[in-house]
Point group: C3
Chain length 305, copies 3
Amino acid sequence: MANLLMMNELTNAEIFQILEDAENYKRGFGWNPSEKLFVSNLFFEPSTRTRFSFEVAEKRLGLEVLNFTAEHSSVQKGETLYDTIRTLESIGADAVVIRHHEDYYFNELRDKVSIPIINAGDGCGHHPTQSLLDLLTIKQEFGSFQGLTISIHGDIRHSRVARSNAEVLSRLGAKILFSGPKEWQDPFNSYGEYVDVEEAIAVSDVVMLLRIQHERHEEKSSSNNYLQEYGLNLQREKLMKKDAIIMHPAPVNRDVEIDSQLIECERSRIFKQMENGVFARMAVLKRALQQIEQNQEGNTHVIYS
Amino acid sequence: MANLLMMNELTNAEIFQILEDAENYKRGFGWNPSEKLFVSNLFFEPSTRTRFSFEVAEKRLGLEVLNFTAEHSSVQKGETLYDTIRTLESIGADAVVIRHHEDYYFNELRDKVSIPIINAGDGCGHHPTQSLLDLLTIKQEFGSFQGLTISIHGDIRHSRVARSNAEVLSRLGAKILFSGPKEWQDPFNSYGEYVDVEEAIAVSDVVMLLRIQHERHEEKSSSNNYLQEYGLNLQREKLMKKDAIIMHPAPVNRDVEIDSQLIECERSRIFKQMENGVFARMAVLKRALQQIEQNQEGNTHVIYS
Amino acid sequence: MANLLMMNELTNAEIFQILEDAENYKRGFGWNPSEKLFVSNLFFEPSTRTRFSFEVAEKRLGLEVLNFTAEHSSVQKGETLYDTIRTLESIGADAVVIRHHEDYYFNELRDKVSIPIINAGDGCGHHPTQSLLDLLTIKQEFGSFQGLTISIHGDIRHSRVARSNAEVLSRLGAKILFSGPKEWQDPFNSYGEYVDVEEAIAVSDVVMLLRIQHERHEEKSSSNNYLQEYGLNLQREKLMKKDAIIMHPAPVNRDVEIDSQLIECERSRIFKQMENGVFARMAVLKRALQQIEQNQEGNTHVIYS
């Protein structure tokens, strides 16, 4: 079952295969299903980038899309996530893409449903397709991960992205640095050390900013002036290495994590990351569905006796 | 006009035609429109199964789908249901699928709009496509309805399904039994008699459980332990005849109408019902649209002078 | 960049081209894209007609549709309209259709995003596709605009339609009259003079009623009986010229702007306007996208370096 739940379940070889497939899709090549396949997108949290990026990826692949919204569904009548997914499976979904506010929501599903689950974000936990599109963006830029220094800035503790990226980038040979307010350090994330913001910026090939997730935590940062204390302001950008790039998963809090004037500057890959997201997700969908199509013989993909 | 509003408006011959068409779609055959046709789904109540089942059916048929949600529509500005449907008709909908909280909402529409209306549930009234998928499931199992004993358990009074099914199954030759709390008996439903739960289960070929619709009625069941008093628990399942099956329209209240462990047991057809729902709805859409396509000559289906 | 923001930015020649293209689409001819193009519909206000009319137009043209709703998006996390549109652009939208409650919301977007923007209504400002479908309906009826008398009735001040239509119809050679309660006169709209309702109706070729937008203004009309004082009731309809027609952008407040019995009478073009809306929007989408397709070489339409 080609689930995609957490980056740490992918081997390096699998990651490089996905990145290669993504590059091919970007160049206009790659697998398309030969028959009508259905994917259902279940977003239990608001999203623009991830949701539409998946929808575009699905439609570019020629898949049929079922957009599920919790408030118009039987979740309103108390139906569980498991029963919802089993229902979609029975109705004909060939894969599901899920964003859910609970950490590890997928643990109650894996090994129990027979269609692949693609995790589009669980609570503060994981967001593997964001990691993949980040990897794609870095690989396009530098060709390899070996020996790169990548600093991750900001709200490490609440970030789905920080955790996945730190693990996988370390594994692929990059050196990770963290920087940000003390109260947002993550004691469980041991893939890099915490350094001063300017020190981090000066030595990095990639300055990876994180979004401050106001919607996830009560405690405000101790700082009333995050940009000047911890963010990427105009002065700090000048410290960056010649070919270093800026990344941010967006949505950006303008003039908080980054000065508004830098969002579309020459170093910024913020919108390129979004563009890459479509290709990375096409590759992930291919991985999930290609196998299903091979296993399939009849017209409907699952027959309950 | 091939509306589908209430099961009692279908002749036996029409029902058998729909079931045959559904079987054909299940096997991968059947009518597909030769031109672009549009269907609009209007769900004024939350739904997972029925809504997505229709959407999958529509997309398998190659129809274009317009998903209408009341809260993003001019219903917010006070537009009536009639004006909404006439609008969709003018814009190019070739058929509409409607779920609405009002009993007989369709009476103000029939004979006034010129596109077919498919009732996906009206208040506590009717739910004909649920009946059709139930019939399909029973026919697949037993080949015929003649002589079967079918017991319907639970909230008879508030159930769209109980009413339609009792009428049509009686008509097709089955014997109906009802069972459940006294306060949920339906004085207007005279298609079967009320018997004790264990008596019903022991003699039935089909044990048809109904969902307790907490969202529809204020009065709680007098019972704090519905499963033990009226539901299908593990002990009662043992009373069932050798080849008898369990049905439930879902969503299931786990451990209320049925013990959680029985939901996916060998006797259960609960997820098979959902799977059949797609094929039954494809057949209903065929019935609604095939005729339209034949009547059509020009490019737009209705011309207002 | 083939934006469509306000009618006053279109030359007469452009308007006539759109009307001709719309007529062709109505007859079943016209441009279709040769590759997969994506359009995103962003409706920040409830809408039935405009939203579905665009969706049908897009699907008739074979476009891929991305339906954006603010409450499921990162707008919930404070993302700006500009960042939202740039995101959709990066993800692959080839054009956006926007309805937004703010007057001139598009001023912060134009010249900054590189995909065409089609305005589906801004605040109390403009609604160019409504004007175009109105023009199409009038042209079908009378062949030309030159010399026609067109009276616009009702809530002139809050109407997106009144402003656009008065400007463009004057420009195309029609004479405009206004009629309605004093408190809803628009001092900035100088394209016609205010006359008594019966005088207006008696001399008009087109009686164009406006919707009372209860949802937009606090002040009630001074009248408790709008229909009798200012509306088109049965008596006033009898004053109309032999071939004069009735128009209304809908949704109609039945028995307020117009007697219920007149909504589908022989003179009424209310539902025909909706039907024409699809063809007018197809023509507008063609104008926006045809050029893009010509400019495109690679597989993705915008490459950020």
